[in-house]
Structures are given as structure tokens and as C-alpha cells.
């Protein structure tokens, strides 16, 4: 029944992980729906990436045109709008990323199609496409059902599932760019690389990370002393860097750094998935949070449900004592 089209994502010449992650969700859905699965790549100079993507067994449709040299929401929307008319996919799956969120909602409005944003899973039951998504800082899951539509639009959260191993090779087919003229309402200017600071936390062995639970920067000295006692570097959640307590280049998470220390101490951090995505590679995670329901405990090895301001000073003293 119909076709599932998965839009892959690339940036600065490489396919991003989400492109593979979607191939953990889409084939299962294709089987449930009895649908054909194909992927789509849009860009300029796409041969290598197309070959790589074809390793997942699904046919890769490629629009390879200099017009698409840099990502541009406007052009992506125009191209996808035309492809929806031509290919009539039953489902269009795109990444829920800074790229995907920049054109999928406007595409949905333009084409009068339903959209579910940031799904973590998709199923097909009783002839209905259903998506699972999260709400209230990850404390609640929602099941959302699509009403019958010509094409259902979905974006998939990054890091929600493990990418599968490449399997059989699929075909690559170049399709002509549906975009005939260049658009000028919106222009790419440049990329600016993320700031680099004095410490590269991606290389740190031990990290003490603080979140909004720190409340004020005058509470930092205790944290700094703890870090000093165990030769750790200090990092923070986005809430801590937005507040200016911790430098921006020390933000852990999807829009910050991905860290993989031996030990990660999360103090007053709730564990939003955007944060967890950046630290789940840590070997041992210790979380201190006064909320027993905090999602950070799902990724912790050692958990303390308590006020960090009571635990941290005592911890610092004990560690100093024991390490002599």
C-alpha cells in the first residue's frame, strides 16, 4: 500500500546520524503498512552519500543540483511540495532537526497535510498511522493518530533509536530537480563554527555538570571546590549556560557538546532528552536531583534524591578526606 519516503539529512558534506536512525523506524513501519520504502537525498554533489545511504536496502532518490548547494528551507519546501504531487507518498518522514523543523510545518500548511512533530516511534494499527511523542519535559508520552490523508508528514527525534547496521544495497535513481528557478527571498550567508573555550569538555575524564537547580551563580564556589577535589572539569545544561553561570562552550547536549567521560556528575539537571543525548556515552553517571521523577535517573548508575546544596558540601568534604 503506497510508499514511505524518508528524507535523509546531510550537513557540510556528510550524512548526519539521524539519516540512519530513521532507517531503524521506517522499515518496520513499511512492513506493517505493506508499503514500499524509499529514501530521498537533496543536495549538490551527492554521489558518495547516495551510495552510503543505499546500503540500507531501500531505493535512494537523489536530487543533485547546484541550486541545493546549501540547505535552504524555502527550496526544500518547494522541492518536497512538487515531489509529494509526483510520488504521492503515503508517509513522508523527515528529521526533527534544525533543518527539518525549518520546512516541515510550512510544507504541511502549504499542502494542507497533517503533521506530527518529533515522533519517537511510529506504528500502523487498525489501518491508522500512529505516532508516539513526548510532552512535559519527557514526563508524559502521547499517542497521536493521523486521520486518513493523502500524505502523512512526520518528523523523527534525533537519537531516539539506535541506527541499524547497513544491510543489502539498494538502487540509486537520479531525479530531475523540480525547482526550476533559484529563489531569492532567503539567502545562505555563512556557517560560523561553535566557540572554543579554554577547556575541551569532549576530552574530559571527569565532568561535574550543573543545571537550573544551581539557582544562582553565587552557589558556584561549592561546585568548583568539588570539581577541584576530584580533578574534574565543570560543564552545564543549556539552562545553566543560558543563565550565564557556565560558559557556552561547556554546554552538554544536542546543541552543545557530546561528551564521554569516565564519570559524569549531574547536579540539579532534569535530564531533558536534548541534554541526555550529549552525555549518554559517559561510562558512569551519578545524578543528584530533588525530584524522584526526574528523567535523568533513567540514565544514572548512582542516584541521590535530595537537595544538592545539602549533598554537595558533604560530598566534597568526604572526598577530600578519603583521597587524603
Amino acid at each position: 500500500m503506497g510508499k514511505i519516503l524518508v528524507l535523509a539529512e546531510h550537513r557540510q558534506g556528510v550524512l548526519r546520524d539521524i539519516s540512519y536512525e530513521m532507517m531503524a523506524i521506517a522499515p518496520k513501519l513499511a512492513e506493517e503498512m505493506g508499503a514500499e520504502l524509499e529514501t530521498l537525498l537533496i543536495g549538490s554533489g551527492m554521489d558518495e552519500m547516495a551510495k552510503e545511504l543505499s546500503g540500507y536496502g531501500a531505493k535512494v532518490n537523489v536530487i543533485d543540483d547546484p541550486v541545493f548547494e546549501n540547505f535552504n528551507a524555502e527550496k526544500y519546501q518547494k522541492a518536497l511540495s512538487a515531489l509529494i504531487d509526483n510520488m504521492k507518498p503515503a508517509v513522508l518522514i523527515a528529521p526533527h532537526t534544525a533543518q527539518g523543523v525549518d520546512f516541515m510545518p510550512s510544507l504541511a500548511v502549504e499542502k494542507k497535510l497533517p503533521l506530527v512533530a518529533e515522533a519517537i516511534d511510529l506504528t500502523y494499527e487498525d489501518s491508522t498511522l500512529k505516532a508516539t511523542r513526548t510532552m512535559y519535559s519527557g514526563k508524559v508520552n502521547a499517542t497521536v493518530a493521523f486521520k486518513p490523508a493523502d500524505t502523512c508528514l512526520v518528523t523523527i527525534r534525533e537519537g531516539a533509536v539506535e541506527a541499524p547496521e547497513p544491510a543489502a544495497a539498494g538502487d540509486v535513481e537520479k531525479i530531475e530537480s523540480p525547482l526550476k528557478e533559484d529563489l531569492s527571498y532567503r539567502q545562505f550567508v555563512e556557517y560560523i563554527e561553535a566557540e572554543v573555550g579554554d577547556v575541551d569538555i569532549t576530552q574530559s575524564e571527569i565532568l561535574v555538570a550543573v543545571g537550573r537547580g544551581l539557582k544562582e551563580d553565587k552557589n558556584l564556589p561549592d561546585i568548583e571546590e568539588l570539581a577541584m577535589a576530584i580533578k574534574a572539569d565543570i560543564a552545564g545544561s543549556r539552562a545553566a549556560t543560558d543563565a550565564g553561570w557556565i560558559p557556552h562552550d561547556r554546554q552538554v547536549g544536542t546543541s552543545g557538546k557530546t561528551v564521554k567521560p569516565k564519570l559524569y556528575l549531574a547536579l540539579g539537571i532534569s535530564g531533558a532528552f536534548q541534554h541526555v543525548a550529549g552525555m549518554k556515552g559517559a561510562k558512569t553517571v551519578v545524578a543528584v536531583n530533588k525530584d524522584p521523577e526526574a528523567p535523568i535517573f533513567n540514565v544514572a548508575d548512582y542516584a541521590i534524591v535530595d537537595d544538592m546544596f545539602k549533598v554537595v558540601p558533604a560530598l566534597k568534604e568526604k572526598l577530600k578526606e578519603m583521597k587524603g
Binding site: E118, K139, F146, A194, S255, K290, N298, A314, L315
Partner: protein
């Protein structure tokens, strides 16, 4: 510069216990404290900064209950000029495309250069409303914006991508910008501003007042159905350390030292 800023009244659930009501479709919000959505607070600040720099006016738009007027007055106290609060039970709130259509109804017949939204609402977090709103209004947009420079007839927006990479784009005005947290330092409302805010215009409108056809934004118009809400199973494999705070600290210290972790 004439701007609009869309703000949402959301519960703070970072420390609260969240329970699903017996209807399986709503959460028990009786114990939540509500305030402005974090990203929207930055959007308000950005709109006021641009007004202070370039002149002009800022209108606040919010779909929400009577209680949210405290939040709206606060935005007025920070320098926004007037506000529209939309309240109508017929709006399909679970669908950002329907919400965007209603917001567009409040904006589209007026002149504007910029519309600001947050990039993400903390409660249902679709990250979709602003970009959908741009399409409803038929104007350009840039999402996840962390820096704005207003040029002649154009705006230069710094978009924050994964890993902190910035993509700089230029758009012709008018445009919608969805604002990411950390773009500025939101001010506290000055006492004088709080007094003035009481006198600023705050109109309360429903769909009929806006001229929005309810059948275009209600549950029937939405292409998606919110079937159920549930609390995800906690998959914590963590060892929970018990005792008084000092005992917990001592136990943790010895785990870390004996385990060779520090």
C-alpha cells in the same frame, strides 16, 4: 518596525509530579505553577530590544486562559505596547497547525515587519507553530534564531544548528523568527513599567471577533487526534543511595573512591 510577539502560558513541570487524568487525554494541572514559556521570554526581550533600537511598536498575542493575563501584563511592563489574548474553547490546541492558523488570524490584516515566536514550547514542544504561522501569513521565516540583525528591508538571522554550529541567513522582510533561548538577557520588568502596563490595551477576543472560521481550526479541522497520554515506564537501572544527606554523600564518596572512579 512593527512587530508581533507570540507568547504561551505554560506549566513548569521540571520539579512537579505529572499525573494523567482518568480521561487519559489530559494531565492534572491543579498543582502546576504557570508562567511564560522560556523561549517566549527571550522572544519578548528581542522584540523590545529591536523596538528600542529602531523605533516602532510591539504587539503581544497569546491564546490562553484569563489567568495568563498576569504574564501578558509582564510583557507589557517590559516594553511591549498592547496585547491580544485569544480564548475560545473550539480551538484544537493539540495541533500546532491549528494554533498557528488562529495566531495568523490575529496578525494577518495588520501591517508588520517582524513576528517573533519561541522556537519551542516547554509543555507540548512541537517546534512547529512559528514556521507554520509564517506560511499562514505568506511571509519568510527563520527558525531557532540566536542572533538578529535588522538591515535595510532585510533581516540577518543566526540559526543555531546541532552541535552549536551557526547558520547565517538573510531574509527579506516581513518575516517570522522563532527565537531560541540564550539569544539575550531577558530584563526584569521595571516598577514604572509595571505601573504603565496596567493602562495598556489588552483585548480579549474569540474566533468570531478575529473572523476565523471555527471549522478551520477545531478538532474536526485538525488532521491528527490526540488518542492518549500515559506516563512512560521508568527504566532506571540506577542504584538509589538512601539515608540522610550526609550519609548519602559518604556512601557515594566511598563508591567513587573504591570503584576507582575518582
Amino acid at each position: 518596525m512593527k512587530s508581533f510577539v507570540c507568547i504561551k502560558y505554560v506549566p513548569d513541570t521540571s520539579e512537579a509530579e505529572v499525573k494523567v487524568n482518568s480521561d487519559g487525554k489530559t494531565v492534572d494541572d491543579s498543582k502546576f505553577s504557570y508562567d511564560i514559556n522560556d523561549a517566549d521570554n527571550y522572544a519578548v526581550e528581542e522584540s523590545v530590544l529591536i523596538k528600542e533600537d529602531k523605533g516602532g511598536e510591539v504587539d503581544v498575542v497569546s491564546i490562553g486562559p484569563k489567568q495568563s493575563e498576569v504574564m501578558i501584563r509582564m510583557a507589557l511592563a517590559k516594553g511591549c505596547d498592547r496585547a491580544t489574548r485569544i480564548e475560545d474553547e473550539r480551538i484544537a490546541n493539540h495541533d500546532p497547525l491549528m494554533v498557528a492558523r488562529v495566531l495568523a488570524g490575529a496578525i494577518k490584516d495588520q501591517e508588520f515587519d517582524l513576528v517573533f515566536t519561541g522556537c519551542w514550547a516547554e509543555d507540548d514542544g512541537h517546534m512547529s507553530t512559528g514556521v507554520a504561522l509564517a506560511e499562514e501569513l505568506g511571509v519568510n521565516h527563520a527558525s531557532m534564531v540566536k542572533k538578529v540583525e535588522v538591515l535595510d528591508g532585510k533581516v540577518r538571522a543566526h540559526r543555531e544548528l546541532e552541535g552549536g554550529l551557526i547558520e547565517v541567513v538573510e531574509l527579506e522582510l516581513p518575516a517570522v523568527l522563532t527565537i531560541q533561548t540564550g539569544i539575550n538577557e531577558p530584563r526584569y520588568a521595571p516598577i514604572r513599567g509595571i505601573r504603565q502596563a496596567q493602562k495598556k490595551e489588552l483585548n480579549v477576543l474569540n474566533l468570531d471577533d478575529l473572523g476565523v472560521d471555527p471549522s478551520e481550526v477545531n478538532l474536526d479541522a485538525s488532521g491528527v487526534i490526540l488518542e492518549s497520554l500515559y506516563i512512560p515506564e521508568i527504566e532506571s537501572a540506577a542504584e538509589f543511595i538512601e539515608g540522610e544527606p550526609e550519609e548519602k554523600a559518604e556512601k557515594l564518596a566511598s563508591i567513587l573512591v573504591k570503584g576507582g572512579l575518582v
